[in-house]
Symmetry: C2
């Protein structure tokens, strides 16, 4: 095993491009195959591009490959959630009580293009676009490709094949269909779908609503969100049930009904979106799914990474950050001196899977939190208390959201366990009036800490009996 080995990467999306860059920097010969055209040369989303939440774990990865200074200009800071109620009132709920903790809105395409540029600049990294992988013989380490350009097929062998080919991964499908080993797999769909819409800039090219926030119109059974783009527009996403409730994707079939739905529930948003009805019927409705699987690797031959290994729903804004963190963690394992690819893949999966399982579950939790709970009195009390803790005792307290989003040196799994215990402690003590917002804050924090430790301790005894 030397770094002269040939590594094949399937998929040049965010994770594949970053992985190619990092492995290229480490001296491997890297060949990347991508089924789509080169997004730097083809305008795939004519005009506005889709944006994503980018935060500490992602930033850590950019620092690892040394390009955070080039990423920074692409970022629009979002300091909190701007909550829009049904009357059009707004309130800004900060993401943290610490001022330097915020998330960013970033263009998927701009960031992907930057990663491709950086990786392609290395002599030992090559990209092949318009090459669709159709199957992988993971025992032999050979992938089959279809070239759109001349409609030919060919096989390509490599020492190691890494599938970063997203939620619909062909490598993962090959694992599943071959039945050569016990492959645990799950795909879980929410009964909700989503549709992307937009708020265009005003006539001066300025943002029509406050730029530096993630806007949320939470309506319990459904919600609308908006993230800013650099060009003054916002990308808006509607999350709605396919077939339940008075209004759903299956019955929003006429322009009048869509207008009526938005007018009833999102009146202030509708006023910003004269283009709504056209977009609604032009843009697709897409499903929201979680994918988990194990093992990610087959011996020392193949490995799944990013969404191919663990696709999650978008509600924690961690999808891209988790995939980038995969590369950071994989890089650590490469440093650890294992003497075979099999040992590397095994170590990576053992260390990483508990964390990607956790962020998948957290993302589902946050769906419920965003669409409904942010509006509930007890939840607001909890957030107010946590903001106060974070402001007054910045080194002593971090909310679940902060642990997940801003504490890049704590794994998702630990963040989940600790964060959930804190939430449970605060909510129960608020419900039982054991703490209130009027008490001495120092004393309240001590109570919350003690109760959190107590919950973690009791859960751990009960859990040990189950595992």
């Amino acid at each position: 095993m030397t770094n002269k080995e040939n590594i094949q990467i399937i998929g040049a999306g965010l994770c594949g491009a970053l992985l190619a860059l990092r492995l290229g920097q480490r001296g491997y010969n890297v060949e990347v195959f991508e089924k789509r055209p080169d997004l730097r040369r083809v305008h795939i989303n004519a005009g506005r591009s889709i944006n994503l939440a980018f935060s500490n774990r992602g930033i850590k990865a950019m620092k690892l490959v040394g390009i955070q200074d080039k990423v920074e200009p692409l970022c629009i800071p979002m300091y909190g959630r701007m909550l829009h109620d049904v009357e059009g009132n707004t309130i800004l709920s900060p993401y943290s009580g610490r001022e330097d903790e915020y998330i960013n809105s970033i263009s998927r395409n701009a960031l992907n293009a930057l990663l491709l540029d950086e990786a392609e600049a290395l002599d030992n990294v090559t990209f092949h676009f318009n090459h669709k992988c159709t199957s992988v013989d993971f025992e032999k380490g050979i992938s089959q490709f279809y070239k759109y350009q001349d409609q030919t097929e060919f096989a390509k062998k490599a020492d190691v094949i890494i599938g970063t080919d997203g939620a619909g991964s062909v490598l993962r499908k090959s694992y599943f269909l071959a039945k050569k080993f016990l492959f645990s797999f799950s795909q879980d769909y929410l009964t909700y779908g989503y549709k992307e819409l937009s708020i265009l800039p005003d006539n001066n090219g300025d943002y029509k609503v406050y730029k530096n926030a993630l806007h949320i119109w939470g309506r319990d059974a459904f919600m609308l969100i908006a993230l800013p783009n650099l060009d003054g527009s916002f990308t808006v996403t509607l999350f709605l049930s396919y077939d339940e409730g008075t209004y759903n994707f299956n019955n929003l079939t006429t322009k009048a009904r869509v207008q009526e739905f938005f007018n009833t529930y999102f009146k202030d948003a509708l006023e910003l979106m004269p283009n709504l009805v056209d977009e609604f019927f032009k843009n697709p409705t897409s499903p929201l799914g979680t994918v988990k699987c194990a093992p990610w690797h087959y011996k020392g031959k193949t490995l799944l990474m990013g969404d191919a290994a663990h696709a999650i729903v978008p509600f924690y804004g961690q999808g891209m950050n988790a995939s980038f963190e995969d590369v950071v963690e994989f890089d650590k394992v490469l440093d650890a001196g294992h003497n075979s690819w099999e040992a590397i893949f095994k170590a990576f999966e053992r260390m990483r899977k508990k964390d990607t399982d956790a962020i998948a579950d957290l993302a589902i939790d946050n769906f419920h939190e965003m669409k409904g709970h942010v509006n509930k009195a007890i939840f607001r009390e909890k957030r107010n208390l946590e903001m106060a803790f974070e402001k007054q005792f910045p080194n002593e307290y971090a909310s679940k959201y902060a642990l997940v989003t801003f504490n890049e040196d704590m794994g998702y799994c630990e963040a989940m366990l600790r964060g959930r215990a804190q939430d449970k402690a605060i909510l129960n003590m608020l419900a039982d009036k054991e703490i209130t917002l009027d008490d001495d804050l120092r004393e309240t924090l001590n109570k919350v800490k003690a109760e959190t430790e107590h919950i973690l301790e009791e859960d751990s005894i009960a859990k040990k009996m189950r595992h």
Copy 2:
């Protein structure tokens, strides 16, 4: 919708045969297709048949179809777990403090044969053996079959198709592959496999060890169990990791090594099994998987039931009981006066799925309990306390095991939530010395009850925030 409609059932195993019997009793025209030969005519397992745990939920189903008096003679009561330690010492740990609560060992084939006989005796129920379903067009309600006898294929339409075709269900596979709707699906394998062995009767045809118990040799990392058969033999099952630990299925490749493994860990069992080594290499090693999916039904056309909808690992002895209970619950829904098959299928799934999800999770828990915890001091203290509660206050306390196994009128999900809360309460209070076995039992029970309610209440507040 009348009961003159034609119902097609795929699979004549335990669930399919019971369902055919019940739907036949209700007057439907039922046609059942089974890929295997008729087990009443072909000796599939030459000699001893594989046995299963049969308990209250299963008995309730037999009573529904009026055949419990014919099932009873097939049953061997097992009053508790007979725990064998590594020195060969044994201790009987009863399943309940109430004398009328026990489980039974029953022959899968004998019970299946009885159900087939009973269903076939009805004029409106027909069985076709050696007919393999190869796919289902669930939109049209047409199944494809392959007849082994004359190697022909044919299509068969029905008003309603119900797949009771087990863990490898073809109907479920058709849902998955067709991608016509969002189908959530998971298959989860343990890293353990199992192998069936046997303890033959002694020279007088008698049982070599105590007949009326489920024998367990729990060794933390692996375990052996044995259930009695009517002929004086026991069916023995080894549960062992495929590739971890000093001894595992992948490295038990020679007769000497198998002998050595059993001699080290199961010396008293080995003495009862002169046939061990031969059987070990003759019998297959099989995987242990959990399958969950949703939706079970496609509109009013097709429905999954039994293992096809929810395959579970065998450690709670509830696989067959859960499938039988499906039929009981389905029968209730048929009584509820819905006016379409779609409404019936929807109501059945809504009411049932939370419970089959719960028993799947409970079965995984019990794997860990059986192989390891039964031997741990704190677990034994808990069991002793629970036995005392059940003996002294039979109407006030039921352990998790009793709730799941003997309380057929409580759903699995409720049994799981309550049972886990009780376990957590007792284990934490024992660990903190808040209760001991020497305290007044009445007072201890009151403490356990109060703490259980407290845990359920706190979990419910925290959970509401997540859902």
